[in-house]
């Protein structure tokens, strides 16, 4: 074999703490190395051209680049060697930046370590084999999980691009959190007015199939060929008959049902349509409150329904859909703020969440847009907003910033003044984070034009004064003195957390999630929409806190990724998959039992049972290889011999 070695200086990133020329010189002594050099920037165009030239000039049949992490540039250099006619898998990388030059300043130790890592890569390369990808067809359909604004945007963009979309929404209506908002910052335009038409587009688009009140039961398959099982949760209303007329909701006698859409600020009926602009505009029965379902007698809705849509016997239904790509846009939930005893822990009716406040301000909300106190229905004249309730608080394990609370608090303060001109708003804040376009101007307006009093500091206690008002005690850290405010209403800017059930969904999608349940993107900066599972993309807050414009942008970005994926009729499979040596295989089926993907099946070859890898399903984990005692199943590019070569390169007693 003829191996070329390139020890990258990466400017001073590596060259600063590793003697690259010395490493290149040492590498000349490694087996099969016929050419060794130390370029300044290997990944730059001249660097890559030099690799190609060396392959031709020195008739190389394998290349080692010692530079940054292979997680960064392995695909880059594989393309480089392929351009020069080598198989892309006749290439190995030694990570001498992240794992050497950046973690220590001892040049001698680093040089020694770098040389050994190159030795390791050479040893591996000597065991490498050319691998070729297979082509497989793609199902040009996409699943969008979540019908909030990010999901809606992704679905509409894909649908407009000609891709059939399956949208699954957990709630009875799409719209997500944005549908609950009254106005949006920084323009203070009506949320329903800008979101409503998009929701209608989803309902009417010929390319979109909407499953509302449904959840993902199971996902199997791989990029281009996912099989999704969707659980359509029972609504007790036949939606094919329901016209959304609302007669049932008027007549339903169970009027003290919990109103999920209105965040519990009012009661609703057991059979409801979430809000007038709901998509789909269909009724749903809440079985916890329905008298027919709990006590067995009532049946009023069934009697009044003009189309006979009510069906108390209805059961969940499972539907299977085949798609080629998936966009996760599951959004967020508010954290449970009642862990904060200092804000009353949920005991005081006039301490509410910002989302509840949105419903109070909203013209289609339970109060018709009149801001009133939940306790006595009076109009509040003094409103205290407390920011960072459950954000940036390591003491409760939530060190992250929820991102958009500073902005909506300013908006709510402005709207409070608009609704009740003789009111006074106070905002307790830690810092004001308003980096978006027109954002800082907006918070200033709240302070300067609307006279909102901003107090920098935390609130230590909220308690009722016994005369109908809440006492808010806090600290003004700018003036260095305690503050005490009498408030008619206290609004908490409650921090966000990943949507309930997000980790369980991540497991079904086989994508990573962080400690807080937010889905992990493939690369924080360079792959913010992709996940580590091919064909699964992210949009909106499920990936991390972001506001509406950013969610919409990421929805479109995810759609662009889907459209890019579907621009080809076939996909190339990763050749780094398991292969069975049928001569060695004794047909015991241990690999079949342990494969996490069910990607190995039993087959019969000349009357003997053997294992067979289903190439399109194998993901390349290698559990089978470490399970098979006789080494009959080997994971390509991480075979026993390849790993043993690396072990032996380092340990030769």
């Amino acid at each position: 074999m003829r191996i070329g070695v390139f020890i990258c200086h990466c400017g001073s990133n590596i060259g600063g703490t590793v003697d690259c020329a010395q490493v290149a010189k040492i590498a000349e002594g490694f087996p099969d190395v016929v050419y060794s050099t130390d370029p300044m920037y290997t990944c730059a165009e001249p660097g890559q051209a030099a690799i190609e030239a060396a392959i031709h000039e020195h008739k190389l049949d394998g290349v080692v680049v010692a530079s940054c992490s292979p997680r960064m540039h392995e695909p880059t250099f594989r393309r480089t060697v392929a351009r020069a006619g080598l198989n892309p898998y006749m290439f190995e990388m030694a990570n001498i930046r992240e794992h050497v030059s950046w973690i220590g300043k001892d040049v001698a130790a680093n040089t020694h370590k770098a040389a050994e890592l190159v030795k390791l890569a050479v040893a591996k390369l000597r065991q490498d084999h050319a691998l070729t990808s297979q082509e497989f067809p793609v199902k040009r359909r996409v699943l969008v999980i979540g019908g909030g604004v990010a999901g809606i945007q992704a679905a509409l963009d894909c649908a407009d691009g000609g891709i059939p979309v399956v949208m699954v929404e957990r709630e009875p209506t799409i719209g997500g959190k944005m549908a609950k908002l009254d106005k949006t910052f920084p323009t203070v335009d009506c949320s329903a007015c800008i979101l409503g038409p998009k929701m209608v587009d989803v309902a009417q688009h010929p390319n979109i199939t909407l499953y509302a009140n449904a959840e993902i039961e199971d996902i199997s398959g791989y990029v281009g060929n996912f099989t999704v099982t969707i659980r359509k949760k029972t609504t007790y209303v036949d939606w094919s008959k329901c016209t959304g007329c609302g007669t049932c909701t008027e007549k339903c006698p169970a009027k003290k049902s919990f109103d999920r859409f209105n965040e519990g600020v009012a009661n609703t009926t057991a059979i409801t349509i979430a809000f007038p602009q709901a998509i789909p505009k269909k009724a749903v029965i809440d079985p916890k409150f329905c008298r027919q379902l709990t006590k067995g007698k009532c049946g009023v809705c069934a009697k009044v329904c003009p189309t006979g849509a009510i069906n108390y016997e209805m059961k969940d239904e499972l539907i299977t859909e085949e798609v080629g790509s998936i966009v996760a846009a599951t959004g967020y939930d508010l954290m449970d703020w009642t862990v904060y005893a200092e804000y009353g822990g949920g005991r005081y009716p006039d301490v509410i969440t910002s989302l509840q406040y949105e419903r109070l301000m909203n013209a289609s909300g339970p109060t018709g847009g009149h801001i009133v106190r939940p306790s006595d229905g009076k109009e509040p004249k003094s409103v205290v907003f407390i920011q960072c309730v459950g954000s940036r608080d390591p003491s409760i394990g939530r060190p992250y910033c929820s991102g958009f609370c500073c902005m909506y608090t300013a908006k709510q303060a402005i709207l409070t003044k608009d609704h009740i001109p003789d009111s006074q708003s106070y905002v307790f804040y830690m810092d004001i984070r308003s980096p978006g376009k027109m954002y800082d101007e907006f918070t200033r307006r709240a302070m300067e034009e609307y006279g909102t009093e901003y107090i920098r500091g935390r609130v230590s206690q909220v308690y009722p004064d016994g005369k109908g008002q809440m006492v808010v005690m806090g600290m003004d850290t700018l003036l260095g003195r305690p503050v005490e405010i009498r408030a008619d209403l206290v609004v908490l800017a409650v921090g966000i957390e990943a949507s309930k059930g997000a980790p369980a969904l991540a497991e079904k999608l086989r994508i990573s999630y962080d400690h807080y349940g937010f889905f992990m993107e493939s690369h924080v900066k360079l792959k913010p929409v992709e996940t580590n599972t091919a064909g699964v993309f992210l949009a909106g807050v499920c990936q991390g806190a972001k506001d509406i414009p950013a969610s919409v942008a990421q929805g479109s970005a995810a759609a662009a990724k889907v459209l890019t994926l579907f621009a080809k009729d076939t996909l190339q499979s990763d050749p780094q998959i398991a292969k069975v040596d049928i001569a060695r295989c004794v047909g015991c089926g241990k690999c079949i039992r342990t494969c996490p993907y069910g990607a190995i099946k039993e087959t019969v070859v000349r009357n003997a049972e053997k294992a067979q890898v289903i190439e399109t399903m194998c993901q390349g984990c290698g559990v089978c290889t470490s399970t098979c005692p006789q080494g009959a199943v080997q994971l390509s590019h991480a075979t026993d011999n390849q790993i043993l070569a690396e072990v032996n390169a380092l340990c030769q007693a």
């Binding site: 040492i26 002594g29 794992h99 973690i103 599972t533 984990c621 559990v623 011999n641």
Partner: protein, 489 residues
């Protein structure tokens, strides 16, 4: 360290040889994250990138530790967060077994750790590397197998059985023959035992005709575990005589899909113990002829070259008989007697008790002297009923190339490690490996220790008792009952 010049002698001298196996998706990313954050770390560690911690065959670690590594670290995605959904669950079980197994070889288990680091946990990666490197430096360079002084030690077989041992019912043979005679027309072959080179030594007997039946020998001479032959007869109808211990191997073969229940007809023999021919031969020494062989209910009496020798079974049984609790298979096609389950807790096998009493360095020295005798005949492998790879054993292969051709004692012991770890959770402790060893190496102790580890980690799991059970290393639980995350989690 050829190829690395002497310029780096400082690093070479102060550094220890530490290997890391990191999964590509989480821990390798975590190490990258630490680098991006310029988190200063000790320089000893050399990282091998693997797709998943589930790809890390424990034998890679054993190989590294045998061949000069001072420490090995494996790191994968956190449980529940595996990129491949379950790879690290398999890894957790296998690596935990390895960690508990290493001390029997004389290797300090602190030289191997496994942990979980996600791609975002750069700071944690730094702590893991720093702590592990400090841990290895505190232990110092790993003692080399070659450097230890050979330690010869003998196994003390003075054991009390859980129930009296003996030669069994003398009337049994005729009823066994009758039973086989009736069944023989339906079967291609029935496997039992017959006289070998002399009356004392038996060999496996493949009964195809009624005439063959006359040669059948049982009782204390039913030495071999005949289940070893079953996978070779796949597709044929085979009858087999099994002692209680042999039956476990049959169950294990069924569990692993290596034989089919309908192809096998089990004759369950009651057993009161067999002879440990290794020790019998030792007493007899060299002789020309056996002139007489008598058996009473407790003792086999042999006259060899005119000299009389008494072999009471209670003193000359292999160690498995002393701790036997199931003297006859219950789940057989034909029960050829009555044997009740024996109550009692099996004692530590004497081979294992001997090693347990040794220090780590004594164990390494013991294996050095014991394995030095190994002639690499692989009789241990060939007699093992669970060694179904047969012609494709990794010891004979170049792809994969686990074993070198070197005659080093270290390589001989490494084969025993391969065998033991391949059998982890599958070995029924039948002892055929040790019985067939022509140079009398107590290799069963390695399997016994591994079986003990399996019992401790997997709620008393006993291989070969339930044909429907999943061997522990072929499964996992999301929350493991007996595997605790270590303190540096």
């Amino acid at each position: 360290m050829s190829g690395v010049t002497s310029q780096n002698t400082n690093a070479e001298h102060s550094e220890l040889r530490i290997l890391g196996f990191l999964c590509n998706w989480c821990s390798y990313g975590g190490a990258d994250t630490a680098g991006v954050a310029r988190a200063t770390q000790p320089t000893d560690l050399r990282i091998i990138r693997v797709p998943c911690s589930g790809r890390v065959d424990p034998l890679f670690i054993a190989k590294a530790l045998f061949n000069g590594a001072d420490g090995v670290l494996v790191s994968g995605c956190h449980p529940r967060d595996c990129h491949y959904s379950a790879g690290n669950f398999y890894a957790r079980r296998r690596l935990e077994v390895l960690k508990h197994f290493l001390p029997i070889l004389g290797i300090d288990p602190a030289r191997f750790e496994y942990t979980w680091v996600s791609a975002s946990e750069g700071e944690r990666w730094k702590q893991v590397v720093t702590r592990f490197t400090e841990q290895i430096h505190a232990l110092g360079p790993a003692p080399k197998f070659e450097d230890s002084h050979p330690l010869h030690a003998m196994v003390d077989m003075a054991l009390a059985p859980l129930a009296p041992l003996g030669t069994g019912d003398p009337q049994l043979l005729s009823s066994v023959k009758e039973a086989i005679r009736k069944k023989l027309p339906e079967l291609d072959c029935v496997i039992g035992w017959k006289e070998g080179r002399d009356g004392l030594h038996t060999v496996p007997h493949f009964i195809r005709t009624e005439a063959d039946l006359e040669e059948l020998r049982i009782g204390p001479f039913a030495i071999h575990n005949l289940a070893t032959y079953l996978p070779n007869y796949k597709g044929k109808k085979i009858g087999i005589l099994v002692k209680g211990c042999d039956a476990k191997s049959v169950v294990e073969l069924l569990q692993e899909n290596l034989i089919k229940r309908e192809d096998v007809f089990l004759f369950a023999l009651p057993c009161q113990g067999i002879l440990d021919m290794g020790r019998v031969d030792q007493v007899l020494g060299r002789y020309q002829h056996i002139t007489s062989l008598k058996t009473d209910d407790k003792t086999v009496t042999v006259v060899a070259d005119g000299k009389e020798h008494h072999f009471p079974i209670s003193q000359y049984a292999p160690s498995k008989c002393y701790s036997c609790t199931s003297r006859m298979a219950q789940d057989a096609d034909m029960l050829l007697g009555n044997a009740t389950q024996i109550q009692g807790t099996p004692q530590t096998p004497p081979e294992l008790a001997m090693l347990d009493a040794m220090s780590l360095s004594e164990r390494m020295a013991f294996w050095k002297s014991a394995m030095d005798r190994c002639i690499r005949c692989y009789a241990c492998r060939n007699s093992c009923p669970m060694c179904v790879c047969r012609d494709y054993c990794v010891s004979d292969s170049r792809d994969p190339h686990w074993m070198s051709q070197s005659d080093a004692t270290r390589e001989k012991l490494f084969f025993q490690v391969i065998h033991t770890l391949h059998l982890a959770g599958r070995c029924t402790g039948c002892g055929e490996c040790q019985r067939s060893c022509p140079v009398g190496i107590p290799i069963l102790a390695l399997r016994q220790h591994c079986a003990r580890v399996i019992r401790e980690l997997f709620s008393g799991y006993e291989p070969g008792t339930d044909p429907k059970a999943v061997p522990p290393l072929l499964g996992y639980q999301v929350e493991e009952e007996h595997i605790k995350e270590r303190e540096w989690k």
